[in-house]
Assembly symmetry: C2
Homo-oligomer: 289 residues x 2
Amino acid sequence: MTSQRLFDLILERRSYLCVGLDSDPALIPNHLLAEPDPVFAFNKAIIEATREYCVAYKPNLAFYESQGASGWESLRKTIEFIREGGNSQPGNTSAAQPNEPSHFILADAKRGDIGNTAQQYARAFFDQLGVDGITIAPYMGADSVTPFLGYPDKWAVLLVLTSNPGSADFQMLSVEGELLHERVLRLAQTWPGAERLMFVIGATHPERFARVRSLAPEAFFLVPGVGAQGGDLAALSRAGMNSQCGLLVNSSRGILYASSGTDFAAAAGEAAREVQRQMDALLRECIGR
Amino acid sequence: MTSQRLFDLILERRSYLCVGLDSDPALIPNHLLAEPDPVFAFNKAIIEATREYCVAYKPNLAFYESQGASGWESLRKTIEFIREGGNSQPGNTSAAQPNEPSHFILADAKRGDIGNTAQQYARAFFDQLGVDGITIAPYMGADSVTPFLGYPDKWAVLLVLTSNPGSADFQMLSVEGELLHERVLRLAQTWPGAERLMFVIGATHPERFARVRSLAPEAFFLVPGVGAQGGDLAALSRAGMNSQCGLLVNSSRGILYASSGTDFAAAAGEAAREVQRQMDALLRECIGR
C-alpha cells in the first residue's frame, strides 16, 4: 500500500486507528472455544465489528506463534479475511474493490537478524503472508533492516521509542550529543530504501513527539500505548500529526477485550467507534481536513 | 539444562560447537526435495552426522517461519529428533539416557517485545517447543527480557555484540563513558533472574573478547560468525574462554552446506569433526582440561 492510499483511507474513514489483533487464546470469550479455530472466529467477529472505524490491523505474531502450526494457520486466515474486505456477508456493498485494499496490515513481529536471515523473514511476511508492513528491531543495524526495504509499497516499521517501561533502559541513553532513539531515527533515514520506513513511537512519551516529528517530518509513525498502557491520544496527535496525518495509533486490549461476554464484538465495535470519533475531531483540529 | 550439565557435555565431547540449523529450502540438496518434509529430512541427516562433534543445535526460526505452518512442523519434528538422541537407529548405544539431554537446543528467534507479549513467546518456546534457550534482542529493555528468566534451567541469550557489519551502527556507540554493547552487558546482569542469561558475542570482533569476558566472567557466550563470516576460532577462544569453557561457538553454513551433493551429510560430519578437533586442542591449551 502506498502512503497516499493510506492517507486517502484515513480521510475516507475519518480515522487513523490501527486495531491490534493480540488475540490471546486465554482471553477470548469462552463461548468461542467450541469453534474449530477459536482465534480465527474471534478475529473475524472483531474485524467485522471494527472495520468501518479503523484503517489498519496489526496482528502481534507472538499470540499466533505460541499456538504452533495451528496459530500460523489462524493468522493466514485472518489476513485473508481482512483482504477479502473483512465481511463474511456476500454482497455487502461496503466491501472493498479488488486491488484497492481496505486496510493496511502490519505484522507485529519485531524481527531483526543478519542479512541472509532478514531476507528469509522479508519473503515470509511480504511474499507469503502478504502483509503491507512488518515491525523491525534496530539493534543489529543497517544490514538487518535494508532487506525489508526492497519491496515496492511494502513497509518496514522500525522500533525507535517504544511504549513500555524498559524503553528507558537503552533508548533514552545519551550517545554523542543525542538520545539513542534519536540516533536510530536519524541514521535509519540515510539507509538505502529509507522511503519505505515507518517508525514506532510509543504514546507513553507525549513529551517526545514534537522532537521526533522534527527529525522525520514526512514519515508515518506507528503509535502503540494508548488505552491499557495509558497514552493520551489528543496530546500525541497535536504534537505528532503532519499534513498527511502521519500517524497510525494502535489500540489492542482496549478494543479486543472491551467485553468478555457474548457481546464482545459489539463492545469492540463501540470502543473502536469512540476512538474514531475522537480522531475525526483531531483531524479537523490539527490539519483542517 | 544447567550450565554444569552443559560444561560436562563439553568435556565429554571435547567440543563447544553449536551447529546452526539455518536450513534453507533453496539450498538443501536437490535429491531431498522428493521427501515428504525435505527440511526435516535434511536436518535429520545433518544431526545424525554431527551429533558426536557438537553440544548444541541452533535452529534459526526465520528459515522455518518462511515456510508457514509446514515449517513450524519441520521445526517441531527436528527438536523432537534431537531430544530422542538424534539417532534414528533403534538400539544405538550412544543414544542419550532419558532426563539427560544430549544437546542444548537454542531457538534463534531474536525476539523482544513488551511484557505480556514476551510472556507469550516464553511459553511458546520453553513450554511448547521445549527448547533450552532462545535469543532475545535488548533494545526494548528489562521488561522485554525478564519474562524469559523465570524458567528453571532455561536460558535467554541476549544480543550484545553481533557478528554482522551493522553491529557497528549502534552497538559500538559511546554512551556515557562506555560502548552501548558494554552497557547492555552490564545492565542486563542486574535484572532479576540474570543468572539465566547468556550473551551473544560475534566472532568477528576478536579484539573485544577480553573486555566483554571481564564484564561477565561467569557467563556463557554464544559466538556466531566463524566460518562463512570469517571469525577466528583460536583467537576468540584464547581471549574468551573461562574455567567452565563459557563459550558455545556456532557454525551454520560451513557445516550444513559443506557439500551440495548426495554426500552432504558425510561432508557436514567431516566439517564438524574438524572443528571439534581444533576445540579439543583449545580446551587443553586454554583451561588444561
